[in-house]
Structure formats: C-alpha cells, structure tokens
Amino acid sequence: MKNILVIAEHDHATLKTATLNTVSAAQSIGGEIHMLVAGNHCAGAAAASAKIPGIAKVLQVDAGHYAHHLAEDLAVLIAGLAKDYSHVLAPATTFGKNLMPRVAALLDVTQLSDIVGVESADTFVRPIYAGSLLATVQCSAPVKVITVRSTAFAAAASEGGTALIETVPAAAPLDVARFAGQELTQSERPELTAARIVISGGRGMGSGEDFKLLEDIADQLGAAVGASRAAVDAGFAPNDYQIGQTGKIIAPELYIAVGISGAIQHLAGMKDSKIIVAINKDEEAPIFQIADYGIAGDLFKVLPELFAELDKLPPA
C-alpha cells in the first residue's frame, strides 16, 4: 500500500495548527504518513513537523520561489511527488483551497474539498449546500487529493515524534505569478480558528466603532472576535473575521453571536460550536433556533451589562 502525503501549512518557522488536524485525518485513513514542508528557509517548520508522533518522514524543500506559497509553483512540486502516494492532504484553509485543486488538475484527478469524515480509504463525507446536507462520496482516482476541514478532526499531538527529515530538490519556477505584497490583520487576540471562545458581531452592531464593545468582552474572556458577512461588507470588520460558508469554519467551546440574524450561510461556519449564545433584539431571529442561551434585547444595553457581570466574576 502507498503512503499518505500531508502538505504542511506553515510560516517557514512554525506550523499552522490546521496542519495538525490534517495529520489526524490522515491517521484515520491509515498508512504511513509523510509530510511536505516547502518554503524558504523552512528548517524550523520541518523540525516541528518531525516532532509530530505518527509522521514517518518529513520532506523539506527550500527555494526562494516558495517563500510566499504561490500555488502555481507549489502545485508543480507536489504533483511531481504525488505519484508515489495514495492520498495527498492539506488543510481546507485559503492556503489549501488555493493549492490543492491545482495539484489535482496537474495529476488529472478529481479533488475532494472540505472533508469532515473518513469512512474508508476511498470514501469520505463532505458538506454541501452551505452544510445543510452531508454527502458521502466514493473516489476512484488513483491519487486522492483532499482538503480537510479542521473542525471535524482533533489536532494531532505536536510533541514526541522523531521523524527523519529528508531534503528534496525544488521544482523549476513557473514564472506566471509574483507576490506583490500583503496586509495581514494584526491582533493580540487568539486566532479565530484556534480560539476556545469567539464573540462575533453582525449588521446589528451598526458601526465599526461599536465593535469595540465586542473587543472589550473578548479581552475579558481571552476570546477571538469574528463577524458576519454583512458586518464585513459594511466595513465594520476586516475580511478575515468572516465566519461562514465562504469565510472561516470554526467550532469553539463558546460562540457568542451579537446582532447576527442567523442566515444559513453564517450558521455553516459556526453551528458545530459546543455552546452557542445569541444576543438579538428580534425574538424571532433564526439564530435563536440553534442557540443554547439567548437574550432577546438591545445589544447596546446587553453588552455593557455583560461586560460588568464578567468583570465581577471570580476566577474559575
């Protein structure tokens, strides 16, 4: 039986946590797992990969043209390696979603996006129609190229392994795309997809300034801040705050939705949260149908009260 290749998402020095969830999906398929770390001076990320228990081998590739993870260049490299593998997996993040279809097309195989379950080595479960349905699909492709929804698989352990690191040569650059800059959202708060608690605001917040009400509570709780599409479109919050069908998919222990109506496209991104709280002035808002605890009231009254209550709360 052939091995499984997991594509690491990393910033050259460290691994992104979604990589660990992807490893755990690979483990549920079964078989020897190798990890590809392609970047520029990415020894740090390769060393972190080698420590993951269950990884048999790390392939490290360093080249200037992998510095910005351009899909055009990475896909050529991965397609060249993939022939030796039965499965190639990456996280269903914007990194993986940009890259893996390109890999699949170069291999002339279909691709499976956003799997949430592994039934067998060729059969997988994935959400369709904004998560309102689940499809079980069987894939006959000789190489299964897959992106993994991280909320559906627990993160694999990150310490204890001692995999071999092998250096692999880079593929030639394709020279059709060039990195020209980035504008990353700076935040001291935990990353949205990794946070234990998330508080999100919707159109009901009324303005970007009023997001401050959420941020203050987020800081009390050590939470991340998210947003609905309407709030992002209105400019209340940056695009990378968007939760939903086409934004981030999260499943924190506690999700607090404030001034969010609960459209299916929003629920698609948070309905697997353990506890859901909704604060909305409209008693009939659909968000209440999935909330464990709801407050029907004006958020401009409720949020300051919530802040005050949390302030009084003794440490757990």
């Binding site: 390109r102 059969t123 689940l134 699909v137 695009n239 407050i295």
Partner: protein
Amino acid sequence: MKILVTVKRVADYNVKVYPKADGSGVEIANVKMSMNPFDEIAVEEAVRLKESGKATEIIAASIGVSPCQEVLRTALAMGADRAILVETGAAPEPLMVAKLLKALVEREQPDLVILGKQAIDDDCNQTGQMLAALLGWGQGAFASKLTIPGGQEIEVTREIDGGLETLMLKLPAVVTADLRLNEPRYVKLPNIIKAKKKLLTTLSPGDLDVVLATQLTTLKVTEPPKREAGIKVADAAELVAKLRNDAKVI
C-alpha cells in the same frame, strides 16, 4: 482584451434543499434555480472592465442542462456580448468543467477568465484553480480587487485567512471572484429584452473533443443532526451564571 466569464445554474441561495427520499442525492426538481451568486460578481467585474474601456468583448459560458440558458441570458442582460452553453446532463465534476473550459479558452483565446470562487451547491471551490493549472496560467483565487495597470499583467488582491494578499499575474490569467470584488447590478427590463437578441451558441462536449468521465460517486446524501434550540435568559447576569455553572465554558 477579451474576457471569458463562467456562470453556473444552482439552487437559489435562499431556498432550503433536502435529500431525495431514498437518500441517493439532492432533491432539486421544483426548486428555484438562479445564477451562482459568485458568478454574478464575476460577470459584473467583466462588465465593469468593458465599461472602463479595458475589455472589448465578454463571452459568458455555462456547462450543464439546457435550462442553463436562463443564467446565460441573465449574464447577457448584465452586459456580456455573447454566450456559449456546453450542454451536458447534470453539471459534471469541477475537473471536467475545467477541461471543457480549457477547450473553450483554446477556441476563443481570451486574455482573462473570471469564474466565481465557489459554486454554492457543491461548495467545491476548485474549478478556477483547476482551469489555471490545465492552461499553465497564473491564478488569482478569491479576488477582492482587480486592476490592470498595462496590457501585460494584472494585479489581484486576494482574501486570505490572515488578511489580504496581492499578486501580479502575467496575462492571460484566471481570476476567481470573492464576495467583496463588487456589488452586482440589478438587471433592467430593457436589457433583458436586448439580451434575447444576443447570440447564444450551444455546443456538446464532443464539439470540444472532451470525453466526460467521473471519478466521484455519491453514495448517499443526508441531513446533519439538528441542533435543538435552548432557552432564553432574562439578562446578562443570568447568562453569565449559566455559562459558568451549567455549561462550564467561562
């Protein structure tokens, strides 16, 4: 500059869909169908490029059953110049769509192909990236801004998990439209009437020398477990008490 833009016919984003009674697929008979919302954004962007003098011709393409003509007519009413339907049975897998589009690209020689980032039925988010790979072109996936400084390159700002990223792509190139690229216009009645006279060509996969194949079989479609509504609490004090003592999450 010539632009090819793709439009998929999907169940309208406002309707709730159900599994077929035998669980073999999705029940879409009698469901309201519309243009995939991301494709409206793609068409809008192409039309704006034409209005600003950057583009000269816009061709809209759809792949699927004969009623896909409706979404092509909508694209024509928005401002596309002509349309091509590649008639197949139910919409094929993204890899097959990408192969058919590649053949169309070879026929029509566009400088830019704009697709939606994702079809809201299959939620695959694959076709644009696959097409770019098959053509060996650069890809600007999940675009929220697009500028064409000269005639050789295109600047694409992409929505990524950490924020925004900007790429320069050599032309010809593939772009997939994200939600914030633009706000699609409403189609006006006179334009709907005008669109009826625009050219809509129908081709078969055979005309494009593409043999359709499938590598995915849907074994079953189910509804995910339903989440039950909980309780309403009176105020913030009660909420905090519940979260601390019952749910134990704070």
